[in-house]
Amino acid sequence: MVSATKVEGEYSFLSKNSHLDQSEGVKTHLYHFGAEHGNDDLKSTACPEQGPSLLDTILLSQWDNFAWKGHLDYDVTACQLKVIEGGINFVGQLNNKWNSFSLKEYDKLFESFRCSKPNSMKSYEGLLLCVAQGENDRPEVAPSASPPKDGLLLIANAYPVEYGHIFLVPAAVNQLSCYWDKRMFGLATKIASEVNNAAFRVFFDSRTHVVSDHMFFQACYFPNPLPVESASTVVLYEYGGNARSDIIVSETVGYPLKAIVFTSNNLKALVNVVSEICFSLHDNTTAYSLLISNNGTKVFLFPQVKNLVTGCSLSTWECGGYFIYHTKFEFDNASETEISKRMASVSLQDSAFEDLKHLCCAIAHDLVK
């Protein structure tokens, strides 16, 4: 059990944080990564005999408990799914209760949660789990503990896109970090690897997933492979020298939205390369989305242009090929051509994409050596 300690000096939010300590404090299940997995290797394949991992079990269980208690706005598993005809097999969901504006509510929620305003009791219910680095070899769970400062909070999303939709929010915020926290990204990838469930994906969207300069992630369980994961790829750069720091950079072929795929079994290499690239993209004020899948070994980067004319942009799961329709009419008439057009309209221009590809390869080459 880890208790939060006061850190004097640097962080201006301290006074509010100590307010948190003085109140009963938030107690939740605390999951510690095992130290043997604390290194860089990501588990690449799930062993079928072992069964669901501990983190997977506890996360699903907590989410189901949350759903069962009725805190969810609607039962997402009651929303109909269908595969849209066409080669790419986009998936559509009929859901008239979800809307993208619901994300804005959570912005406020996170703020208030960190400030532990007393009227934000709802967030405590939604707090499913806290994940932190542990010292022991094997992962372990403490049933009731205060979240440590460097932990990651898993908060249930009451407006889920799919089963198990959660937010990954840092427990305490390092004020010094800019919008992109490398350590957080590493933790998020680590979580994907620990869950060890092919259905679990983690998202990040550069436009919406930054709240008052702090980034957070979303994750959920998609039961079937996302269309982008099934798309064929072409390798751009492959570093095979040192087996431990292998990273493969490839681009998708035949997918309406141009995307770059980073594949690696090495957590550090992946985090470094992707972080660098995201910094550059931010400098260029290019919007992008990240999709971490395949148990944390694959990261899809979807660069997007800000379409000033239509103002439409795609959320990360839409980039991945999973679309939500609000009305039955839209759902029934969903067609692959219309989706492809939408994707193409936010996709980068060819020249810009070429530049980006070169940049990725260069960064990968520099960092991996």
Partner: protein, 554 residues
């Protein structure tokens, strides 16, 4: 003359495997009344009082009442409890038509020559729903009953003269042989099945792996047109008659392997007609499974001729083929020495020496493949239509339990990973039968998978269980009972599970033995239980309403 040979199944009486030409059933009084209502047309029925035993060895003395068929419904069964002896017409005919003879050495399994043996052997009904009916399968109907020529009863037509002793005659010669092979089919399905199969187009064979030499038991009319063999000629031989000098050994080995593995197989193979001329056919091999216990009843081989257009397309290179041929020839030679009949299925033995120059194999076009598959499907459908009358259900696929949809393999795979003790019940079928039980559940309750599938969850209830109506998702504390009667405090969580269409497909019942010591790596028992629910939800969410993976809608 009653031509039909069918045995209806009534509620608490089921004949699972009519391999033997007759079956002896013991029914209780209550069953007997409903029995009479449901059996409409039976070839021969004999009902006796419980204290008596069917005296199969001495039919002349009719101590028991026997009833003729058809028109059973108006017979009274004041015998009440007792036994019912039901036979099939075809079996009767076999014996009736055979000339009088002594015991011969030619026997088939149900007709042993030992006259002393009494019918013995109890087979409990497989399905847990029918505990009462017990099927006695006599091992040895006594053959000492000789048919008395000139017996007036013999001369009269109808089922009446069928002294059951007649069946026990041995047949001889071709007639016997043919009838024995035909009985392989008609013992399981009704007599009509032969005629129904005769009507189907195409050239196909049915073989019986249970008989020695894996012989052909049925050949279709189209076979004669295709191969030039008369149907009579191929019955009883193995499928090797169609092979010849230039038949590709690798293809043959592939077929043999598929037979061994009891799976479907399709291959283009060079066959020879009766006059020796070779022709290419697409051979489609499919097993026919007993739907209830998954055993293989027959193999179905469909031959679709491949026309010249397919010649040479996609042939493997000659070098590889040569090597394969050489390797397979070794295998073939081994089989020459040890013709294993019991399980090797079709044994293709090549007597001639053959050179390495074989024809390039042809590739069947899609239309030919489809034709083969559709023929196979129609054959299985025909078998099913006529087998339902005998209570036997066959299918082209191995099924877990009859009437219960088999789960898709991907779902089975995902569910198999989950370590908690749970069952899934089907929400739409009547009485919500269990369609999946995890290994942990089986070890917790002591049931085997075959026993529990198809039952309702109340099978775990016992005297101490407080019955609560479980309607929606909830967690209850129950006292549940294992198969051996011991009870355990059960923390049961029930929840509906929806599939991709958004409708409830199953209910999950997760059990937890609160009394036993568990170590869940720091998780509380409730958390451990719900973890199973979540995992199943994710697994089922990706499935369409039919239970398979989500596909583009048509």
């Amino acid at each position: 003359m009653a031509n039909t040979c069918c045995l209806a199944t009534c509620e608490n009486l089921s004949v699972l495997n009519f391999h033997f030409p007759y079956a002896l059933l013991s029914v209780s009084q209550r069953d007997n009344r409903s029995l009479s209502k449901s059996i409409r047309a039976v070839d021969y029925l004999e009902i006796g009082a419980p204290w008596s035993r069917p005296r199969l060895e001495n039919r002349t003395r009719r101590t028991n009442r026997h009833v003729r068929a058809p028109g059973l419904a108006n017979q009274s069964h004041s015998a009440g409890c007792g036994w019912v002896l039901i036979t099939q017409r075809s079996a009767l005919e076999q014996f009736r038509a055979a000339p009088e003879r002594e015991n011969t050495s030619q026997t088939e399994p149900p007709h042993k020559t030992n006259k002393k043996k009494r019918p013995r052997g109890k087979f409990r009904s497989h399905s847990p729903r029918f505990p009462r009916a017990q099927i006695f399968s006599p091992r040895s109907p006594s053959p000492s009953i000789t048919r008395r020529r000139g017996d007036p009863r013999m001369a009269s037509s109808g089922a009446e003269e069928a002294d059951p002793g007649e069946r026990e005659r041995e047949e001889h010669g071709d007639l016997h042989h043919q009838r024995r092979l035909a009985s392989s089919l008609t013992a399981r399905y009704s007599d009509w099945v032969l005629e129904a199969l005769d009507e189907l187009p195409g050239s196909f064979l049915l073989t019986d792996p249970a008989l020695a030499g894996h012989p052909i038991v049925y050949a279709s009319r189209g076979l004669t047109a295709l191969t030039g063999y008369a149907r009579r000629e191929v019955l009883g031989s193995g499928a090797r008659v169609f092979q010849g000098a230039a038949t590709d050994r690798a293809a043959v080995a592939g077929v043999r392997e598929a037979v061994r593995a009891q799976r479907a197989h399709q291959v283009a193979i060079l066959n020879y007609r009766r006059d020796g001329s070779p022709h290419w056919v697409l051979l489609h091999l499919a097993p026919v499974f007993h739907a209830r216990d998954g055993s293989v009843l027959h193999f179905l081989a469909v031959q679709v001729p491949i026309d010249d257009a397919g010649r040479g397309a996609g042939a493997p290179c000659r070098g590889a083929q040569g090597a394969v041929l050489a390797a397979c020839r070794e295998e073939a030679r081994v089989d020459d020495d040890f013709p294993c009949a019991s399980y090797s299925g079709k044994v293709f033995v090549d007597m001639d020496k053959r050179g390495l120059e074989a024809e390039k194999p042809r590739v069947a076009s899609d239309s030919e493949k489809e034709k083969a598959i559709s023929t196979a499907n129609s054959i299985v459908a025909a078998l099913n239509r006529y087998s339902k009358l005998t209570g036997l259900v066959v299918s082209g696929k191995r099924c877990d339990s009859v009437g219960i949809p088999a789960l898709s393999s991907s779902l089975n795979l995902s569910l198999g990973r989950i370590k908690q003790s749970f069952v899934l019940t089907h929400s739409c079928l009547p009485d919500m039968p269990i369609i999946y039980a995890s290994d942990a559940f089986l070890s917790l309750t002591g049931y085997s998978r075959e026993e529990i599938l198809g039952c309702n969850c109340r099978v775990l209830n016992g005297p101490g269980t407080s019955l609560e109506v479980i309607e929606e998702a909830c967690t209850v504390d129950l006292l549940s009972y294992r198969k051996d009667g011991s009870s355990f405090p059960d923390l049961l969580h029930v929840s509906p599970i929806r599939d991709a269409s958004g409708k409830v497909a199953f209910h999950i019942w997760v059990h937890l033995d609160v009394g036993a010591k568990h170590d869940f790596n720091g998780l509380t028992p409730e958390v451990w239980q719900l973890g199973a629910v979540g995992a199943v939800r994710v697994a089922v969410r990706g499935l369409s309403a039919s239970g398979s993976l989500l596909r583009p809608s048509q």
